[in-house]
Every structure is written in structure tokens, then in C-alpha cells.
């Protein structure tokens, strides 16, 4: 019983972390209509910035959680204004290619700045212990990730459904020309949304830093996971991102424990199964070619 409880909690913290990252990918897709291939690289950048702030600059974890995502968001504004602005009016293939180029640039820059080796970030003292829950001992940090994940989930829901900014983002997602006609500065919205997506990715990166070792391949892993989440849940769907993330979290949480030989393969099998029966994801709307 305790094994199942621990696996469930483990699934939940992986799932909510994935949700934070995948929902950023989804929001950017919804408003800008591009898939940001560099999303995982931005997540990695958040983790490495946190490493520098904590281990080199000696800041507390909380300061890094606040500052690193802001730094990544500023970089995203630069990427948007310097590179992406050229291709918004072009074919979707160009945005895929350009964000892929940005991914290569960020990946290699991380390798150059921080090296190819592994870095470790310690969780803050307050969260480094463990507590007994559901008959097994659970890392306090896991519970913290779950709490932050739920907080962001509620915050995003509130943002999109109850605030003016959320309404403007949804309007821009539905019909950008119409939004422009209604005196909304859509260029500002586009830049803002791209930076917000990057901020979410970096928050995920900082949160993940004490749980996983930092290496230059971590962004690649997470972008594949995020793609699986949005494919399972449905591209552009907010509840879909949550559902997809929880499903993938469960696959990892239980697969890692009970089927370790094939655990790398299970997420893909899950994705293929969903694709066979629901080509647009569980919550997705039509997008057939």
C-alpha cells in the first residue's frame, strides 16, 4: 500500500511540474500559433541560472525562484523582437525552423558557459527533509512542488477567466485581426505572451533544479515530454495540458517503479495509443491535415 501511495505522490509532483512547462508551450501556441521548439531550452536556462544564483552568487533558493524566470523572460523578449518578428507573417514551417535554430544556439551556449558536466542544486533547508504521509516517507520538496503547481494552476485559471489581461490574450488567440480592430496592441500581446511562456518554462526549470541533476541534455528531455503532454491532452487546450501532464506523471511514477526495463518507452506507447483513437488528443479539437 505504501508503495502505491508513494508512487501516486511521485506521479503528482512530476505531473504538476510537467503541467507548468507544457501549459507555457500551449499558451504560446494558442496566441502566436507557433510551436516553440526552444521551450525546453528556456526551461534548462532557468535551471542553470538558478544554479549560478544559488551556488555561485550565494543567494537563497527563494531569490533564485523569483529572479531566474524574470531573466529568462527578458531573454525571451529579446528573442521575440530580434528574431521571431521576421517570421510571424510567414508559413508555420519557418517558425518551427527558427525556434529549432534557437534551441541549437541555447543548448550549445549552455554547454559553453556551464560545461558538459553535471551540476547539483540543493533544496532550501526548510524543504530538504521528509515527512511521513500515507504510510511512507515523502520528501518535503515534493510536497512543495505539488503546492506550487496547484497554486500556478489556480492562478492561471483566474488569469484567463477572471481578468482583463486574460480576456485580451484569449481574444488575440481567437482572432488577432479582430482584436487589433478593437484597439488591442497585438504586437505587445504577442511579445508579452512569448515572454510569459518562457517565464513558465523557467519557473519549471528552477523548481526542477533541486530534484534532478543539471546537464545540457535536460532541455531536450523536457521538450519531448512536453510534446507528449500536449499531444495526449490536445494542442492549445488548458484542461488538456493538465490531463496530459497528470497522465504522463502517472506513467512515470508507476512505470519507473513497476516496469523499470521499459520505462523510457512507456510515454511513447501512451502517446501512440491516444493518437490511434483520438488523433487530436483527449481534449483537442479538429486539426486534420
Amino acid at each position: 500500500m505504501s508503495g502505491i501511495g508513494a508512487a501516486l505522490l511521485n506521479s503528482l509532483d512530476i505531473g504538476l511540474l510537467l503541467f507548468i512547462i507544457a501549459v507555457g508551450l500551449n499558451i504560446v501556441f494558442g496566441v502566436l500559433n507557433i510551436i516553440n521548439f526552444a521551450h525546453g531550452a528556456l526551461y534548462m536556462l532557468g535551471a542553470y541560472l538558478a544554479f549560478t544564483l544559488i551556488n555561485i552568487a550565494g543567494m537563497p533558493f527563494w531569490a533564485a525562484l523569483l529572479l531566474a524566470p524574470i531573466g529568462v523572460a527578458i531573454l525571451a523578449v529579446i528573442i521575440d523582437r530580434v528574431l521571431l518578428r521576421f517570421i510571424y507573417s510567414r508559413d508555420v514551417a519557418d517558425s518551427l525552423l527558427l525556434t529549432f535554430a534557437i534551441l541549437l544556439i541555447i543548448n550549445e551556449s549552455v554547454r559553453m558557459i556551464w560545461g558538459s558536466g553535471i551540476h547539483v542544486v540543493q533544496p532550501p533547508d526548510l524543504l530538504s527533509g521528509s515527512v511521513r504521509l500515507l504510510g511512507s516517507s515523502v520528501a518535503t520538496y515534493s510536497l512543495f512542488v505539488i503546492a506550487i503547481g496547484l497554486l500556478l494552476l489556480a492562478g492561471l485559471w483566474y488569469l484567463f477567466n477572471r481578468t482583463r489581461i486574460g480576456r485580451i490574450m484569449r481574444a488575440a488567440a481567437l482572432d488577432r485581426d479582430m482584436a487589433e480592430a478593437l484597439c488591442i496592441n497585438t504586437r505587445l500581446v504577442v511579445t508579452g505572451v512569448f515572454a510569459f511562456g518562457a517565464w513558465l518554462a523557467a519557473v519549471g526549470g528552477v523548481m526542477a533544479a533541486p530534484m534532478r541533476a543539471l546537464d545540457p541534455g535536460m532541455g531536450d528531455k523536457i521538450i519531448i515530454e512536453s510534446f507528449i503532454v500536449v499531444v495526449i491532452g490536445g494542442l492549445g487546450s488548458f484542461p488538456g495540458a493538465l490531463l496530459g501532464a497528470i497522465i504522463l506523471g502517472l506513467i512515470h511514477g508507476f512505470g519507473g517503479r513497476y516496469l523499470p526495463e521499459v520505462n523510457l518507452l512507456l510515454p511513447f506507447v501512451g502517446m501512440a495509443l491516444v493518437l490511434l483513437f483520438k488523433p487530436h488528443g483527449i481534449m483537442g479539437k479538429g486539426a486534420t491535415a
Binding site: F29, I35, F37, L83, F86, I87, V92, A93, D94, L96, L97, L98, F100, A101, I102, L103, L104, I105, N107, E108, S109, R111, M112, D220, I224, F227, I228, V230, V231, L235, E261, V262, L264, L265, F268, M271, A272, L275, L276, P279, H280, A287, T288, A289
Partner: protein, 315 residues
């Protein structure tokens, strides 16, 4: 007239390629072998990207499977080289059927994500299935036996191997070119420009996209089969997405709108890589910057930009 000029240029280029082992150093024989193999890989990718308009981020899956198939057959069965290549093509065609079936029915954005994810799935399998693939070390220690067809060639000699590669790549390219020029190729072009209209004309777009995907995968498998004996190892890097980035960059670099674009891209890519890696280890950084610049400013590639410039001059 234009065709005659083009044929003359092609004949000179191929004659030059045949003469490489006599006029260039040993080092450049290796460079040109790589250019030819990767050129075929990029040309197969361009069948689905430049012609059909499907941007795949997982084309290395077929290239890598081709390499592994040849390596496995050489290790366990020691068949002739031609038989190995046929196995490579068959294995990649089968894999392309499975991945394509799940991916081609969705739009471009989904297709890009799915091909990347499935490509990395194949990478994960090669990495984890140690008993078959030898994990991260890859398969090595295989030697080429006979060529097949009763021909007596010493394939272990890099100079002989270069000519074998040249012959096979030229034949494969002619077949690929004929496919592109056929009515089937025309339909693929039409699908890129306007899939709705093709579908209203009564053609099954999904089937055409799937067949194109399988053909591209098969030729990528052939290129992979040629690569393994050249590198003398089949390792998971051949399946990684950074390998999938190479044909994308080569096609964009050379020009996706032309059949020969990917070959020119491959030559530019390999020569640039050789040159740049003597100065810096961060080849991927340079690659990213070049790709970004090509996409933003020179979307037609080297060949397209050169042809536009030539037309301008002639006026």
C-alpha cells in the same frame, strides 16, 4: 538549351567526383564520401519537406535504423553488401510505415512534434536495448565481405568504397529524381501548395503523404546503410535529433525548391563543419546561427539565391 547546359554541368561534376581519388588527398576522399551519403539523406528528407511540405524533425530515425540494420546483418549473418543495403531499406520502410501512419494524418504542427517524439523514441530504444544494440557504445567490429552480384571489390579500401558510394548515390538519386518528376511527384507538389484542393479533386491526401513519407524513409535507410561501414560503427548518435537537424539544415542551406539543393547543402555543410571544427568545438552553435540566418534572410537557399541572382544579371 537550358537543359543541355544543365546536363553538361552535371556531367562535369560527376566526372570530377569520379576523379576525386586521383586528384585530391586521402582526407578529401573521406570528406566526399560523407558529402555523398549525407546528400542522399538530405535529398530523401527534401522529398517530404521541399516537395510535400511536411517538416519532419525525426528523419534520423530512418537513417539510424539503416545503419543499425547493415551493422547487425554484417555482424550476425555476413551477407553481401547489397543484401545489407536491401535489409536497411526494408527496415526503414517498415519503421516509416508505422511512424507515418500515426503522424501524417495530422497538420504540420502536430506532424513536427510527432516526428520528433517518435524519432527520440527510436533513439531511446537503441540506447536501452543493450543486448541487441550494445547501448551507448553502439555496434562496431564488423567488416564488409563481398559486394554482391558476383563483383570482386575490396570494400575495405576507402578509395574503392568511395566509388561504390558514388555509384549507389547516383543511381538512388536518379530514381528519386524520376519519382519527383513523375505524376506522383507532381501531386506531392500540389499537396504542398494546396492540400484542400487536391483533396477536392478526389485524391486521398493522407495516402499520398504516407507513401511519400515511406519513400523518404527508405532512401534515408539506404544512406544510413552506406554510412555504417564508412564510420565503422552504428551508434545512437546517428538516431539523435541533432542528426535529424542535419538534413533540415542541408536542405535549407542548398535550397528546398530544387532537387539538387540538398546535395549542394550537404557539400557546404560538411566543408563548413570540417573548416569550423578546426577553430572551435561549438559547431552546433554555428549551425544554429546559420540556420536562423538562412530561414530569416535566404529562405531559397544557396542554389535558389544564386539562380535568382543569375536571372537578374541576365536581364
Amino acid at each position: 538549351m537550358k537543359n543541355k547546359v544543365l546536363m553538361a554541368i552535371l556531367a562535369v561534376v560527376i566526372a570530377g567526383l569520379i576523379a576525386v581519388p586521383w586528384i585530391a588527398s586521402y582526407f578529401y576522399v573521406f570528406i566526399f564520401t560523407e558529402i555523398l551519403v549525407l546528400g542522399l539523406f538530405a535529398a530523401s528528407f527534401n522529398l517530404i519537406f521541399g516537395y510535400t511540405g511536411m517538416l519532419s524533425f525525426g528523419h534520423a530515425a530512418f537513417f539510424g535504423i539503416g545503419s543499425y540494420a547493415t551493422a547487425l546483418v554484417l555482424i550476425h549473418l555476413q551477407w553481401s553488401f547489397l543484401a545489407c543495403l536491401l535489409v536497411s531499406m526494408g527496415a526503414s520502410a517498415l519503421l516509416a510505415l508505422v511512424i507515418g501512419f500515426l503522424s501524417v494524418r495530422l497538420n504540420e504542427v502536430y506532424f513536427a512534434m510527432l516526428t520528433l517524439a517518435f524519432g527520440m523514441m527510436v533513439f531511446a530504444i537503441a540506447y536501452q536495448w543493450r543486448s541487441l544494440t550494445n547501448g551507448s557504445d553502439g555496434l562496431a567490429g564488423f567488416t564488409l565481405g563481398s559486394f554482391g552480384l558476383g563483383l570482386d571489390l575490396t570494400l575495405g579500401n576507402p578509395l574503392v568504397y568511395y566509388h561504390v558510394v558514388l555509384g549507389i548515390v547516383v543511381i538512388a538519386s536518379i530514381v528519386l529524381y524520376l519519382i519527383c518528376r513523375s505524376s506522383f511527384g507532381m501531386i506531392l507538389k500540389a499537396i504542398r501548395q494546396n492540400p484542400e484542393r487536391v483533396s477536392f479533386a478526389g485524391l486521398n491526401v493522407r495516402t499520398y503523404r504516407l507513401v511519400a513519407f515511406i519513400i523518404a524513409g527508405t532512401f534515408a535507410g539506404l544512406a544510413g546503410g552506406l554510412m555504417a561501414p564508412f564510420l565503422r560503427v552504428a551508434s545512437p548518435e546517428l538516431l539523435h535529433w541533432s542528426m535529424s537537424a542535419e538534413p533540415i539544415l542541408m536542405a535549407i542551406l542548398g535550397g528546398t525548391g530544387y532537387f539538387l539543393g540538398p546535395f549542394i547543402g550537404s557539400a557546404a555543410f560538411v566543408l563548413l563543419e570540417t573548416w569550423i571544427t578546426t577553430y572551435t568545438e561549438s559547431w552546433m552553435l554555428v549551425l544554429g546561427i546559420i540556420l536562423a540566418m538562412m530561414v530569416i534572410f535566404f529562405r531559397k537557399g544557396l542554389l535558389g539565391t544564386a539562380i535568382d541572382w543569375w536571372m537578374e544579371v541576365k536581364k
